[in-house]
């Protein structure tokens, strides 16, 4: 109960501070709009992951269906590549998230019942590579199921009345595949799947889908200025010491402050998500639980970072400066200002040393890539691991004087 009382006191102080409204509410909203307009006007980028597509089976029915479904993907953007070597180089350079190599006998061999392997070149240690592989696997599975439907249809019909010719057999096969393809594109029944591509349109997401989560991450970190300073002021005014004389334990004091910081950041995120959804048209609502999970993980990470800054800073100025530095480093390197996919593999890898990059991945897996709940588990888990790390450091370094 005292933990909650302490958190409520912190919140009351934050709410009364007029600067809080500026930094926690007004500036994030203004910057979301400004950055969204700037990104939209300046780049018009298609933020889908670039996938190199090399096929030696261009006329094959399955290969054609595969390319068609890849073209319709909300996660992947098909980029033609001349050959496997060139595609592999591009993946290595980071200009492609992955490359899919289709062998010459893919369609014929698969329909004949042979095992024909597609080749996917990707660095699955990067979020882009991992996401591309996930998306490609889902589409390939559909194509293979279409082939299976075609084969089964032919066998069933042949069992009742044998085909008069190979041409008739071939025509039936193609019709069955076409039917299956149609069924995939316009299903009578839909279920939510991890790799469901339920978007009604294939148009690229708006630039606000970058700026909204980006500014949310940036200002969540920036909001630490307020919360970290609370702790510094508390130490300076000796109220932290006085708490010890009331019989409050160190754990209760830390928990109370972290709870307040968590609530502040989460409330700010909630506001920005609502504004993003209703004003800027960013579709957070399509996976609310996933968004809530990433928000909570982000809030816990920033709360623990705020606690760490508050613990280490001796005076208010230090707390303010360190919060600002944290904001710039985590925002710039973590992809809050621009998508890491456009920066190349090396920068993207460095960026993913920042927890903020994982927060961006979590949000963008939902609002940009159209993925489902499962896609945010890894980013949220990594954020929580960072939160635990920062929290442990803060507790270790916590001093009353």
């Amino acid at each position: 109960m005292r933990v909650i009382d302490l958190a409520l006191k912190d919140l009351s102080q934050i709410i009364r501070d007029k600067k809080s409204a500026l930094f926690l509410v007004i500036m994030p909203i203004v910057f979301t709009g400004f950055m969204g307009l700037a990104l939209g006007r300046g780049t018009q980028t298609d933020s889908r992951l670039p996938l190199g597509f090399v096929t030696a089976d261009a006329s094959g029915i399955l290969s054609q269906n595969l390319q068609s479904m890849l073209n319709e993907s909300k996660t992947l953007r098909v980029v033609s590549a001349t050959d496997e070597t060139q595609a592999a180089e591009q993946v290595q350079q980071g200009t492609l998230a992955a490359a899919l190599i289709v062998p010459a006998n893919f369609s014929a061999g698969t329909l004949a019942g042979d095992t024909v392997n597609l080749k996917l070149i990707a660095d699955v240690n990067t979020p882009g590579g991992a996401t591309a592989r996930q998306a490609v696997q889902a589409i390939v599975a559909r194509v293979l199921s279409m082939a299976q439907v075609g084969k089964l249809s032919v066998e069933q019909i042949n069992a009742v009345q044998p085909f008069s010719s190979d041409a008739a057999r071939q025509t039936t096969m193609l019709n069955a595949i076409a039917e299956a393809s149609h069924a995939w594109r316009d299903p009578q029944l839909t279920v939510t799947m991890e790799d469901a591509y339920a978007a009604k349109t294939s148009s690229a997401p708006s630039s606000f889908a970058q700026s909204s989560p980006g500014m949310m991450v940036m200002f969540a970190v920036f909001g630490l200025t307020t919360t970290a300073m609370l702790l510094v002021t508390e130490r300076k005014t000796r109220t932290l010491q006085r708490m010890i004389t009331t019989g409050m334990s160190r754990a209760e004091i830390i928990a109370g402050h972290v709870l307040a910081m968590f609530v502040v950041v989460f409330a700010q995120e909630l506001l920005l998500v609502l504004v993003g959804q209703m004003v800027f048209g960013v579709n957070y609502a399509r996976e609310p639980l996933a968004i809530a999970l990433v928000m909570a993980a982000l809030a816990l990470w920033t709360a623990s970072l705020g606690l760490l800054i508050g613990v280490l800073a001796k005076v208010e100025d230090q707390a303010a400066w360190w919060s600002r530095i944290a904001m710039f480093v985590f925002s710039a390197l973590g992809g809050a200002w621009f998508p890491l996919e456009v920066t190349g593999q090396t920068f993207a890898m460095i960026g993913h040393l920042m927890p903020s990059a994982w927060a961006m991945d979590g949000f963008q897996n939902i609002v940009v890539r159209g993925l489902a709940f499962g896609s945010v588990l890894a980013p949220a888990g990594i954020l929580l691991a960072y939160a635990a790390g920062f929290f442990g450091l803060a507790v270790w370094r916590f001093r009353f004087e």
């Binding site: 109960m1 005292r2 009382d5 302490l6 006191k9 009351s12 102080q13 009364r16 501070d17 005014t237 000796r238 109220t239 010491q241 006085r242 708490m243 010890i244 004389t245 009331t246 019989g247 409050m248 009353f400």
Partner: protein, 314 residues
């Protein structure tokens, strides 16, 4: 309750690296009394209090608050204590009432009991009419009073006050000293630290004089004065030659020595209140008249000077 002792300090020691801040001190505070720790800055008073309040862990020794060890039963010891820190430990952006309410919650008070105690405390510290004012708009004295009020919220059996009158105006100082006496009259035990000998003399049943981390003298005010055996020194001016009264004054009861020349005399006496009327009477009989008197009573400053060779405020 450990033979009526509210606080019992046993060989309490605190080292900061090589620096011996408190060196194995022992003393006791009886229930219902005011004990002052008197000493110059750096004597170890605040370190002693910080250990009693649970802010610092002792290097050695132990202390007991209402029978609870600060080392093995710290939570119970803290519950029995109200601590008034030397620095203002308040939230400047909250009002007096909000501060008291928050700290009341930290002491575990809730609901109507909390409201009642906050109201009572505001009355005690004399700030009921300013309860909605923000702390950062208060004078130094008013802040000090709220600082004290926080420590009284949970009706502790023992209050520790660490130099509560430092840096405030005389009026607020008077208010605080009166508050301390009122609280004591209501049965509260007070451990009071100060480097103002006048406060220690006015408030205390017992005084422990500290210097360089040690208790160098302990007793009542009178016992400490007697410790150094200093008498009151009276400086008198006469309208006649001094030798006309000197012989007579040497034989006045209570006078131990008379020195001087011309019209000025210095008289050493055990009790200036009893001796002074006799000196007036004797001077009149000798045909003289006393035109001015200065009384220098023996004080704790003199005791400290006697014990350490230094002035209390050095």
């Amino acid at each position: 309750m450990q033979n009526g002792k509210a606080i019992r300090v046993e060989k309490l020691t605190k080292n900061f690296g090589e620096h011996l801040a408190v060196q194995g001190i022992s003393f006791a505070v009886q229930q219902g009394e005011i004990l002052s720790l008197l000493g110059p800055n750096g004597a170890g008073k605040s370190t002693t209090i910080s250990m009693l309040a649970g802010l610092l862990a002792p290097t050695d020794g132990d202390a007991f608050v209402m029978g609870h060890s600060i080392r093995s039963d710290g939570a119970a010891a803290k519950k029995a204590l109200g601590v008034v820190p030397q620095d203002l430990a308040l939230y400047p952006d909250l009002s007096a009432r909000e501060n008291l309410t928050f700290w009341g919650k930290m002491y575990g008070l809730r609901g109507s009991a909390l409201k009642q105690r906050v109201d009572e405390t505001l009355q005690v510290i004399g700030l009921a009419d300013r309860q909605k004012g923000r702390i950062d708009t208060f004078s130094g004295g008013m802040k000090r009073r709220v600082n004290i009020g926080v420590a009284l919220l949970h009706k502790p059996q023992v209050v520790i006050m660490d130099e509560p009158t430092v840096g405030i105006d005389p009026q607020s100082r008077r208010h605080i000293l009166d508050n301390v006496k009122d609280l004591n009259r209501q049965g509260m035990t007070v451990l009071y630290t100060t480097h103002y000998m006048e406060e220690a003399a006015e408030l205390s049943n017992h005084i422990a004089i500290m210097d360089h981390g040690k208790v160098i003298a302990f007793g009542t005010h009178d016992e400490l004065i007697k410790l150094v055996g200093e008498q009151a020194r009276l400086e008198l001016t006469l309208n006649v030659e001094a030798n006309r009264v000197m012989d007579a004054w040497q034989h006045v009861e209570g006078v131990s020595r008379v020195t001087g020349s011309d019209g000025k005399l210095t008289v050493l006496a055990d009790d200036s209140n009893r001796v002074l009327p006799r000196l007036f009477e004797s001077a009149t009989r000798a045909g003289g008249r006393i035109t001015s008197v200065e009384i220098h009573e023996p004080n704790l400053e003199a005791v400290f000077l006697h014990l350490t060779g230094r002035a209390l405020r050095d």
